[in-house]
Structure formats: structure tokens, C-alpha cells
């Protein structure tokens, strides 16, 4: 049996150090970010088709969404 635990199996728990409140006037909850920040600080979980390279897929997403920059997390190549 593998003795090493996959990072996605690790269970973590939050522990409090001190109490504090956040000012609703600044920032947004990530899931409530308004456009264009929603895109500017966004990630797309693409199901890569066979054929094009990871780099090309990232470039297509950039073109479709009319962006200046995209980057992919981990090349998925032959």
C-alpha cells in the first residue's frame, strides 16, 4: 500500500487566533466579484481536446475572451 498521501486527500481544519470583522466597503467575496474583475481574477477549467497543445488551448481561450494574457497550469502533452 502507498505510504504517501495525495495532497487532495489531506484534511485541514481552520483554527482561530483572534477575532476580527471585515469592512464591506472594500473588496468582494470571490464568488461575487463583478465584471470585469470576475474575468481578470478568473480561471477556466478547460477539458483539453486532443490535438492542439496546451499552449494553443490557452491562446484560444485568450482570443475567445478578448484578453491580453492567459497562462496554463501544467502542460498536458504527448
Amino acid at each position: 500500500m502507498p505510504s504517501i498521501v495525495a495532497p487532495w486527500m489531506v484534511k485541514r481544519e481552520l483554527v482561530a487566533r483572534s477575532e476580527a470583522e471585515t469592512d464591506p466597503d472594500f473588496g468582494h467575496k470571490p464568488e461575487e466579484r463583478p465584471y470585469p474583475d470576475l474575468v481578470k481574477f478568473g480561471v477556466v477549467n478547460v477539458d483539453k481536446p486532443p490535438g492542439p497543445s496546451s499552449h494553443e488551448v490557452a491562446a484560444w481561450v485568450r482570443r475567445i475572451l478578448n484578453l491580453k494574457q492567459t497562462g496554463h497550469g501544467g502542460t498536458l502533452e504527448a
Binding site: 480561471v43 478547460v46 491580453k68
Partner: protein, 270 residues
């Protein structure tokens, strides 16, 4: 090769750093070069769990020296004649094509990778909000026509998703802008944190609203941080939030009372 490929947009490209080093999961079809008893194939594949040694293939973007990689699990799903289907959870930088080749060497008859699909990259899986390029094109077009932001939210996930596997540290509003200017995180700013942080662990620093502020390197463990009253808790490695998102609530170091000014004339004798 197909499967999970997280694409970060604009300012979020900074989070790919956290994804490149993250573990991956693949489903792979391996072709064995001659008939082998099923039990033998299972046995050999089983040996490739835990720590393995691997020499990167000739066409690799890294130096070709033998290195160790962790294989978290390797589950054989089906063996049909010379084809073996398995699911593998592995450390970043594991070459599956090479692994198949090496399995063939151990079997003695040779084997190669026939097909590969990535089912996980760090916190991203194919089951959760995975979209095809067609979906991206279609939903983006519909959003441009209808203007409903929720159409974008159907496929654009917050960059925080990419940090899902990192231990978290939450900080108070007053600490945020200093961090955005590159300051290291000190103990008074911390409101809560995850268990299991070790000194030197990579950590993600969040606001109380859950927005990512920085990526950092912990300078102390969870237990130590809980007891600390002052001092650096995490060194800043990457700022993710733009400056000025939160108000500047920190004081600059006091300027000296009288500035010493040199001028050319002061050196010239009358």
C-alpha cells in the same frame, strides 16, 4: 492527450505557480508488447506506488538526471489482453509515458503508453465545472448578447479555486494593503489559519472575505503561529491582489527631521 487543463486569465496568471507544483491524476491505457498473466501485470504496476525513480525522457524540458517522484496511488481498473487501464495519482513532473515504458522493462516484454487523460490538476477535477472550448465560446457569446454575468460565472471560476489545496492563513483588513506592497505577514495580522502548516510550507493568504492576497512561505508552524505575538509568520513570495484594493492602514517609517542636502556649491570654496 486530453483532460483537465486549468487556464488562468489576466491577473490570475500569477496563481499558475501554485498549480505547476501541484499533484496530478491521470487515467492511462498502457499497451503491453506480449501476452502476460493478468496477476503479473497487476503485481508490477503495484510496485510503482510510493517513491519511484525516473529519468526524464529525451524530449523533456528538464535536465535528464534520475530523480524521485511520489506516486500516491496506482489503481488498476481493467486488464483486457495486452491493454491495461489504470488510474494514477502522482507528484508534479511525473512522466506517465516513461512510467509505462519502465513497467514494460520490469515485465520484460516492453510496454508503451497508448492513451492518457488527465482527471485532476491540483484542486481542479474533470467532475467540477470542467468546460470544453465549445462551452467557452458559446457561453461567452451568450453573455455578450444578454449581458448576464452569471453566464460568465458558469465557466470562469475565481482564482482562489486554484489555491484550494494550499494551507490557508486569514488576515485582518488592516494587514492587506501592506501585504499587497510586498510586506511579509506578521503575527498580529493573522485571524485564523489551517492546521498542519509547517515551517517552510507554501501557504495562501486570504482576506476575511476569502479573497487571495498573496502566496507565501510559512516561517513557523501552525502551533507556533498561534502562540506568537510578533514577528514574521509567512514570507511574501507572490502578490496576487492589486495594491489599493484595501485601504492603506500602515505607517511609513518616519522621515528624518532635517534632510541633509548636498549641492555642488557647498563643495566649491569661495
Amino acid at each position: 492527450m486530453t483532460g483537465v487543463l486549468p487556464v488562468a486569465l489576466e491577473d490570475a496568471t500569477k496563481v499558475v505557480q501554485a498549480l505547476l507544483g501541484a499533484g496530478k491524476e491521470y487515467v492511462c491505457v498502457m499497451k503491453i508488447h506480449s501476452e502476460m498473466p493478468e496477476s503479473r501485470v497487476k503485481e508490477v504496476l503495484g510496485e510503482f506506488q510510493g517513491k519511484i525513480y525516473q529519468r526524464p525522457p529525451a524530449r523533456a524540458s528538464v535536465k535528464r538526471r534520475v530523480r524521485t517522484r511520489k506516486i500516491y496511488y496506482l489503481d488498476v481498473l481493467e486488464i483486457d489482453g495486452r491493454n491495461a487501464l489504470f488510474k494514477i495519482g502522482c507528484e508534479a513532473g511525473t512522466y506517465i509515458r516513461k512510467l509505462c515504458h519502465d513497467v514494460g522493462e520490469v515485465l520484460g516484454c516492453g510496454a508503451h503508453m497508448q492513451e492518457l487523460r488527465r482527471t485532476r490538476a491540483g484542486p481542479f477535477t474533470e467532475a467540477e465545472k470542467s468546460v470544453t472550448l465549445h462551452d467557452v465560446l458559446y457561453l461567452h457569446d451568450r453573455w455578450q448578447e444578454a449581458g448576464d454575468e452569471n453566464l460568465l460565472r458558469r465557466f470562469v471560476l475565481p482564482m482562489e479555486t486554484a489555491l484550494g489545496l494550499l494551507p490557508r492563513i486569514y488576515v485582518r483588513d488592516s494587514a492587506v494593503d501592506a501585504l499587497c506592497h510586498g510586506a511579509h505577514l506578521t503575527a498580529p495580522g493573522v485571524t485564523s489559519l489551517d492546521t498542519g502548516i509547517g515551517s517552510r510550507s507554501m501557504v495562501a493568504v486570504f482576506t476575511l472575505k476569502g479573497e487571495a492576497v498573496t502566496l507565501g512561505r510559512a516561517a513557523a508552524s501552525t502551533e507556533e503561529i498561534l502562540k506568537m505575538n510578533h514577528g514574521i509568520v509567512a514570507r511574501n513570495e507572490r502578490v496576487l491582489m492589486p495594491r489599493g484594493t484595501y485601504p492603506k492602514l500602515w505607517r511609513s517609517r518616519q522621515q528624518p527631521e532635517t534632510k541633509v542636502r548636498f549641492s555642488f556649491s557647498s563643495f566649491v570654496k569661495d
